[in-house]
């Protein structure tokens, strides 16, 4: 395996390269175990009894296998409600972001209008404000607007997504303008051109927005804490966080908590493994294979 690296030089180089490669593998495998093992423990603990989880925290084989944690979660807790709420919020936020981000991105990329640079500057400024700083302010506005404890309050504020607008703007700027011009000469209005000519070509960028929005709103916690306190409007992150902090149950009961954590990870994990190449490109700038 090391032969590739050697460019026919004499002396000790082949063995040195081989040593380096072997060493790299050793380090990589060791690190991979550290990164993966916690998740395997998580999965195994889902099927353990409370006593087994306490006695054998490292074991990957439940002894005995037990469905008690899952049964409690589904039959004896609000977990199904949390899951439904997360699903509703995530789908609404993702659909809204895809539409609004691409609309605004298209306008910023293609439509010459007075004040475009101001709008662009405002978006950049908005991205600089850290989200935690906005926790109290957001609550104040949500309260003032009368949408505290409603799906509207949970969903609408999350539709603000300056980063997504930039992704779409950059994409639209990268496609040739001639396609749209032909349609416009035919007399199509700006929205027609956007909707039936430009948007179908933007599938790769739209997929990026879908992934980032899905992941972002599914994993969101802080906003849900300040936007509602009605238990029937609790999404997964908030519900599981309360479960973990013991607000809802007594004792450690790790299998139940870890089952909740594992189940809430499944949807993002599925999206991750389907789109992982694109996801990693979107997060890392331009990772080339």
């Amino acid at each position: 395996m090391s032969a590739v690296a050697v460019s026919g030089k004499p002396g000790h180089r082949p063995s040195r390269a081989a040593v380096a490669t072997t060493l790299t593998y050793v380090v990589l495998v060791a690190l991979a175990i550290i990164y993966i093992f916690p998740f395997l423990i998580n999965l195994a603990t889902v099927a353990k009894t409370d006593a087994d989880a306490t006695a054998n925290p490292l074991s990957l084989w439940p002894e005995p296998w037990s469905a008690a944690a899952l049964r409690r979660l589904f039959l004896n807790s609000d977990f199904p409600t949390w899951f439904m709420n997360s699903l509703i919020i995530t789908l609404a936020v993702t659909a809204g972001r895809v539409f609004f981000d691409s609309l605004a991105g298209y306008a910023l990329a293609r439509l010459p209008f007075r004040g475009r640079t101001v709008v662009y500057g405002a978006l950049v400024a908005v991205m600089a404000v850290p989200s935690v700083v906005l926790l109290i302010p957001k609550f104040l506005v949500i309260n003032q607007l009368g949408i505290f404890n409603s799906y509207a309050g949970l969903i609408i504020p999350l539709l603000a997504d300056a980063a997504g607008v930039f992704i779409m703007k950059n994409f639209f700027e990268s496609i040739p303008v001639s396609v749209e011009e032909a349609a416009r000469i035919d007399g199509a209005g700006a929205f027609r051109v956007f909707w039936s000519v430009v948007l179908p070509m933007a599938t790769p960028a739209l997929v990026t927005i879908v992934i980032l929005s899905f992941q972002g709103s599914w994993n969101e916690l802080a906003h849900f804490i300040v936007a509602a306190n009605d238990p029937s409007l609790t999404p997964l992150t908030k519900g599981v966080a309360q479960l973990a902090s013991g607000a809802l149950s007594a004792g450690s009961q790790y299998p139940v908590k870890l089952a909740a954590g594992a189940l809430m990870t499944i949807p993002v994990a599925i999206v991750f493994f389907i789109f992982q190449k694109r996801l990693m490109n979107a997060s890392g700038g331009a990772v080339k294979e």
């Binding site: 395996m1 090391s2 690296a5 490669t21 990589l28 991979a32 990164y35 916690p38 998580n42 306490t54 925290p57 605004a104 306008a107 439509l111 010459p112 209008f113 004040g115 475009r116 978006l123 908005v126 404000v129 850290p130 935690v132 700083v133 906005l134 926790l135 109290i136 957001k138 609550f139 104040l140 607007l145 539709l159 603000a160 997504d161 300056a162 001639s178 179908p200 070509m201 599938t203 992941q215 994993n219 916690l221 802080a222 804490i225 992150t237 599981v240 966080a241 450690s252 790790y254 908590k257 870890l258 954590g261 809430m264 990870t265 993002v268 990693m280 997060s283 890392g284 331009a286 990772v287």
Partner: protein, 359 residues
């Protein structure tokens, strides 16, 4: 949605493109298209900031509207409460100290680790690079709540970490319930001069004690979940480096360590700047993990300004103080993002020398 094969036949030559009518329609469409985003951003970002600014200089108690006539202007009193002494000051001091150590330890470790991961995964001779990349990145996509729940289990008294420690014959601590500061090494009080001097209601001894054992568990989680994202950023940068420079270094007989130190690292300066900046911004905003795992405990040793701002407002109904903390935190984040810019600024003489050494 099909990827429509739009074939364009450029028959029309030199159309009257910027016709007045189209232009006017474009302007209207431009505003119409950006309106939803602008309204939402304005309503839930710009307006809130202005409202919070008012609350931070008011005595609003959380009941009714902060703009109702019963709410009074108190000037800088809420900001003063953060430094004037008393419980608010000491809480703020503890939160600052906790987060400062968090930043100081997490940012360098996560930056170095993500660079190491990127360098390893980037080696062309390694098979299964995709697998390793996925393994390192996966923690970054999972919810911070799910990871926190897992960490609570791993670091519990009878958890996996203590089981591992027991293999080596030692006894692990009760991680998330252990408030002892790690740099105190078990001592309960320090030298006299450190006990006497104080800032923000805390003695120097406490300031210099470092993070608590509980905070260390949270720090390890932060490193675990962020290193994958930063690895990708480094990876993108590594793949954009020109191979000629490395070939030149190899011809010169530079050892791989020297090549890394004098060739790779200087070229990654801009990327390192990005990673350190993003790391700082993230570290000063720790909230989810604290909310889920410790709520600031044990003995306030995992309290952070972000969580304190939340608990002061929503818990103790001290909205003015909570909003003031949020703005101070904003200022801190701005200052800390400027620090790496200053530290990693292009120092011309040295950079020139490095380039000469390569050429």
């Amino acid at each position: 949605m099909s990827t429509g094969t739009v074939t364009v036949t450029p028959e029309v030559s030199a159309p009257p493109r910027h016709h007045g009518g189209i232009r006017r329609r474009d302007a209207a469409a431009g505003w119409l298209f950006t309106a939803p985003v602008l309204v939402i951003l304005g309503l839930f970002l710009a307006v809130p900031v202005v409202m919070a600014l008012w609350v931070s200089v008011s005595d609003w108690s959380g009941r009714g509207s902060p703009f109702s006539s019963g709410v009074g202007f108190v000037g800088g009193a809420n900001y003063q409460a953060l430094v004037a002494g008393g419980l608010t000051t000491s809480d703020f001091g503890i939160a600052l100290k906790n987060n400062l150590w968090y930043v100081l330890l997490v940012v360098p470790i996560q930056t170095a680790l993500s660079l190491l991961l990127a360098l390893l995964v980037n080696r062309q001779t390694i098979k299964g690079r995709g697998f390793f990349r996925t393994a390192f990145y996966f923690p970054s996509v999972t919810s911070s709540v799910a990871i926190t729940v897992l960490w609570l289990f791993l670091f519990s008294t009878t958890g996996a970490i203590n089981k591992l420690i027991a293999f080596f014959g030692a006894k692990g601590p009760n991680w998330f319930n252990e408030p002892a500061a790690v740099f105190h090494f078990g001592a309960t009080s320090g030298p006299d001069w450190m006990m006497k001097g104080s800032a923000l209601g805390m003695s120097w001894w406490d300031w210099l004690g470092g993070p608590s054992v509980a905070m260390c568990a949270l720090m390890s989680m932060a490193i675990f979940t962020t290193s994958g994202t930063f690895m990708l950023i480094y990876l993108a940068a590594l793949q954009n480096l020109s191979p000629e420079v490395f070939e030149a270094a190899e011809v010169d007989g530079a050892s791989s360590w020297k090549a890394f130190w004098y060739v790779t690292l200087p070229q990654l300066r801009a990327t390192t700047f990005t990673v350190v900046t993003l790391g700082m911004i993230g570290c000063w905003q720790v909230f989810d993990q604290i909310y889920t795992a410790t709520q600031g405990g044990p003995a306030k040793t995992t309290l952070t300004p972000a969580y304190l701002s939340y608990s002061a407002s929503f818990g103790q109904q001290k909205w003015g103080v909570g909003a003031a903390i949020a703005f101070v935190l904003f200022a801190i984040i701005i200052v800390f993002t400027l620090v790496p810019r200053w530290l990693l600024r292009e120092r011309t003489p040295r950079a020139a020398r490095a380039r000469k050494a390569v050429a």
